[in-house]
């Protein structure tokens, strides 16, 4: 990571965090894990909107940590927080009731409708890889206003035509099960990968290529995607992180390089 402040690679954490931060313009309450979402929210607070608030599934609301948190249950998030709720209250009253605008999720696989697999690669009974499972993602997906997904890979394995397992379903899959069970949330609105920004403008629609990172073409992104992915009418090049964004990430937000890689 010896790149200059003005020349960060599209695959770097700085690039992904800066792109993710911009998605939070106008959003109020974000439900997220630590790592890249923490960086993105912190950056958004400093560059876009000081009121962006992180809610953690551990029950913490309105944290003002004195140091960088290592995990969503870190004691620095608790000390000085505005509230610590029980998990039943957090999941039911805050999330399921609809108080969360944006959920930040990761996944091993995402499909064209924005359904996520965080459970198994391969066979359910004897998987090649046992992934962490649902955690709170199965609740964030239906109940948050929208979800932003950050992927560390962009290839047909991570964006397959068909998921090995659907852990956190898109409203499209909920609609297939029962049209009346479509949840309140939009589902995945935005996917940020090392190659592109994908968007899903319609609640029951598909992902499309919206922005392509510098140095790549739409065809590069299509070739790396496991289905015939649609392309937005107004597709454009992803704006690079500004020097100030990179400086904030490196020199003020994650000075110990806990998450920046």
């Amino acid at each position: 990571m010896s790149t200059s402040l003005s020349d960060v690679a599209p695959s770097s954490t700085e690039f992904l965090a800066a792109v993710a931060a911009r998605q939070l313009a106008g959003k109020r309450r974000v439900f997220a894990g630590v790592g890249l979402p923490t960086l993105a929210v912190d950056l958004a607070r400093r560059t876009l909107d000081p009121d962006v608030e992180l809610v953690y599934e551990s029950g913490i609301c309105g944290a003002q940590p004195e140091g960088l948190a290592e995990g969503i249950a870190d004691s620095v998030l608790v000390s000085g927080a505005a509230a610590v709720l029980s998990m039943p209250a957090l999941f039911s009253y805050v999330l399921q009731r609809g108080h969360v605008d944006v959920g930040f999720l990761g996944a091993a696989q995402i499909d064209r409708w924005g359904s996520l697999n965080t459970s198994f690669i391969g066979d359910w009974d004897r998987p090649t890889v046992r992934l962490p499972g649902a955690g709170g993602a199965a609740e964030i997906m239906p109940n948050a206003g929208e979800c932003i997904v950050v992927l560390r890979r962009h290839d047909p394995g991570a964006l397959p035509a068909e998921l090995d397992f659907c852990t956190s379903p898109s409203p499209v899959r909920a609609h297939e099960e029962d049209p009346r069970m479509v949840p309140p949330g939009h589902g995945v609105s935005t996917v940020i990968t090392p190659m592109a920004v994908l968007r899903r403008p319609e609640k029951l629609g598909e992902l499309e290529i919206s922005e392509v990172h510098p140095g790549l073409t739409v065809d590069d992104v299509r070739a790396a995607t496991g289905w015939e992915i649609a392309v937005a009418e107004d597709v454009r090049e992803t704006a690079r992180p500004t020097v100030e964004e990179v400086r904030l990430l490196r020199e003020e937000i994650d000075t110990v390089r806990l998450y920046l890689r």
Partner: protein, 314 residues
């Protein structure tokens, strides 16, 4: 990182958020009853409210007598140890001066309704009502089959007030509300509502609230407006601030028996009084000081502070 400032005055809060015909919950189980807010609703002449309150006590008697309420959603119709609510009884028993619609549950039924409302659920199950006449009286109490093979169980539907109004000990300006002592079902009643108004004994600095985040019953995201309103729960009480005015409750019973006396009381103590400060002044320093409590502080707990450089990417 300046959060939105939600502090306003009670007149504005009620004028802005409480409109005729709304479903309005004023909760507080014998403690922290938002009397000041109820009186402001009376003063502003709201009509056709569906009034939700587990224990409609003399606040209900007053709001109903003032003509604000067309329907009551509740679970216990009496003023604690101090007897009947005669205004409620006159309307129910003899439609005098007009009928009052009542939708009735048990206490836990009301709690479950608030829980369902707060959790965004279509119903909430409870193990009450088997063999009771309550489901016959109230067809909103229904049954569902247990998909695990057990017996049917009764459920209640969500209660989703347009506005919930609460009183609490303290809040910061952004609306993080802390209360202690009996907290009832206030967290649920607030999260169930679209809009939440909280009157508090004192607005405190943010760092007071943040010194004890577990004490926060309502985070700012659940609160629409905060009003500093000392004494706002009188004649009920605020733990650690002032005690219940038991004499006042006893004095209410004979008033309540006489419709003219109720209207006279409302005129003198609500309509002719601009706000809670004037009400307390009228009540008098002597009576108020008789309700004072001696201090009994909680022992502080330690939340700890990470020592610099103790941790990190080691």
């Amino acid at each position: 990182m300046a959060a939105p400032d939600k502090v306003t005055d009670l007149t504005s809060a009620v004028a802005t958020h409480v409109r005729d015909g709304m479903t309005v919950a004023l909760e507080g189980f014998g403690h922290l009853i938002p009397f000041a807010a109820g009186h402001e609703i009376i003063r502003q002449g709201r009509r056709e409210l569906t009034f939700c309150r587990m224990t409609p006590d003399l606040l209900a008697d007053q709001m109903i007598a003032a003509g604000c309420v067309s329907k009551l959603v509740a679970s216990f119709f009496a003023s604690g140890s101090a007897g009947s609510l005669h205004e409620v009884r006159r309307r129910v028993e003899s439609a005098d001066p007009e009928p009052l619609e009542v939708e009735e549950y048990s206490h836990y039924g009301m709690v479950c309704r608030y829980q369902a409302g707060a959790a965004g659920l279509p119903f909430f199950p409870l193990r009450s009502y088997a063999g009771s006449d309550l489901p016959k009286l109230n067809p909103l109490i229904r049954k569902v089959a247990d998909p695990y093979g057990g017996p049917d169980i009764y459920v209640v539907p969500p209660l989703r007030p347009d506005v919930t109004i609460l009183h609490a000990q303290r809040a910061d300006r952004s609306g993080n509300v802390q209360m202690w002592g009996i907290v009832g079902a206030q967290q649920e009643a607030a999260y169930a509502a679209e809009t939440v108004i909280v009157t508090v004994e004192e607005i405190v600095e943010e760092d007071v609230v943040r010194s004890d985040p577990n004490r926060t019953v309502l985070p700012a995201h659940a609160v629409t407006a905060v009003v500093e309103c000392p004494g706002g729960a009188h004649p009920s009480y605020t733990q650690g601030h002032y005690d219940r005015d038991n004499a006042f409750y006893r004095e209410w019973t004979p008033i309540s028996r006489d419709p003219e006396a109720v209207l006279g009381w409302l005129d003198e103590w609500v309509h002719q009084v601009p706000d809670r400060a004037a009400y307390l002044a009228k009540l008098g320093a002597e009576r108020w000081s008789g309700l004072a409590v001696a201090p009994r502080p909680s022992q502080p707990v330690d939340f700890g502070r990470r020592r610099v450089a103790a941790q990190g990417a080691s």
